[in-house]
């Protein structure tokens, strides 16, 4: 049950962070791919809001294709967390929330070297995230 990759975006669509683990097919152009993913998220959110029988909605949470699953968390402050995994992985809402609360807030937002809107440079974040990811039951 592999875990493929993680993207973090801010509200303007800047990709703050990207990391990949068991990704089998590499992106041809990573920058381009990050932009495409953001565009997709943006449209999918608007689309799901338009279709929603109730307003307001929190948008979508995941979608599945026959080869992968994309899990999505958008915070009310506009930070977006995206994880792609194999289709057999279940709900990752708590994992995404954990990454937000325990790592993003504690190690990025509180770090003086982090400039909002700029890619994450703080080393502690990447290390802690990698450690955490390796403890996940589906990481194999």
């Amino acid at each position: 049950m592999p875990l493929y990759s993680l993207y973090i975006y801010d509200r303007t669509g800047t990709c703050l962070f990207y990391e990949q683990w068991q990704r089998k097919r590499q992106a041809v152009n990573l920058k381009e791919e990050q932009k495409l993913v953001y565009g997709l998220l943006f449209i999918l959110k608007q689309f799901s809001q338009k279709l929603s029988p109730k307003q307001p909605t929190d948008g979508f949470q995941r979608f599945t294709t026959n080869t992968y699953k994309m899990h999505y968390l958008e915070t009310p402050s506009g930070i977006r967390f995206v994880i792609t995994t194999d289709t057999s992985v279940g709900d990752l809402k708590d994992v995404l929330r954990h990454i937000y609360g325990q790592f993003f807030v504690e190690l990025v937002v509180k770090s003086p070297s982090y400039q909002p809107g700029a890619p994450i440079q703080t080393e502690g974040f990447s290390t802690a995230l990698n450690q955490f990811v390796r403890t996940l039951p589906f990481f194999s």
Partner: protein, 188 residues
């Protein structure tokens, strides 16, 4: 939709927050203001700097607010005012704030603080009392920053300050614009 119990959320979140010594916090803040006054020699500029520092803090602490309180998105400006006073002030400063004096269109309100931990032990000397120093201006900056991240562009200012002999501290928050998400830019 049922309104959320912000009072309770505030208390639970406060109990989970890391605490610092209140005296240390107050004295540090006092030292910052004193240094700013020395450096800028111009009170308007000091107010501006405090506001700017607050704004930068607000832009960051909004994420801590959402991550730790689990309070979720605010439905409207009124809801945001409640969340600010009952959860925001409680979790970051440990105090209770009240919201009052909404205008007719619900675009302006006042946050009233009966106590202000930033101003404990503080007495303004005469020459500063005569100036228009807003000692705790950092708070209004924080509110401005945090609200902007939650898609409300607001203006904030102190209208009452206990350091100037008012009975309470009051910050007026005025909604200027509801921000909207912008579509990603096409770059080619």
């Amino acid at each position: 939709m049922a309104t959320k119990n912000y009072q309770r959320i505030g208390e639970v979140t406060f109990s989970r927050m890391e605490k610092v010594n209140a005296e240390l916090f107050t004295l540090t803040y006092g030292a910052v203001v004193t240094q700013l006054i020395k450096d800028y020699e111009n009170i308007d500029e000091v107010n501006k700097q405090l506001d700017k520092m607050g704004y930068n803090i607000g832009c960051r602490c909004i994420d801590e607010y959402f991550a730790k309180s689990n309070a979720g998105r605010c439905n409207d400006f009124k809801d945001a005012a409640e969340a600010l006073s009952k959860v925001g002030f409680k979790m970051f400063l440990g105090i209770n704030a009240r919201v009052q004096s909404f205008n007719a269109d619900n675009t302006e309100f006042s946050v009233v603080l009966d106590e202000n931990p930033l101003a404990d032990f503080v007495e303004l000397p005469d020459h500063l009392l005569r100036s228009n120093l807003s000692f705790s201006n950092i708070i209004s900056g924080v509110i401005r920053g945090a609200f902007e991240m939650a898609m409300f562009r607001v203006e904030t200012r102190f209208v009452k300050d206990q350091l100037r002999g008012d009975d309470v501290n009051e910050i007026r928050v005025i909604l200027k614009e509801l921000l909207e998400e912008k579509a990603p830019q096409d770059d080619d």
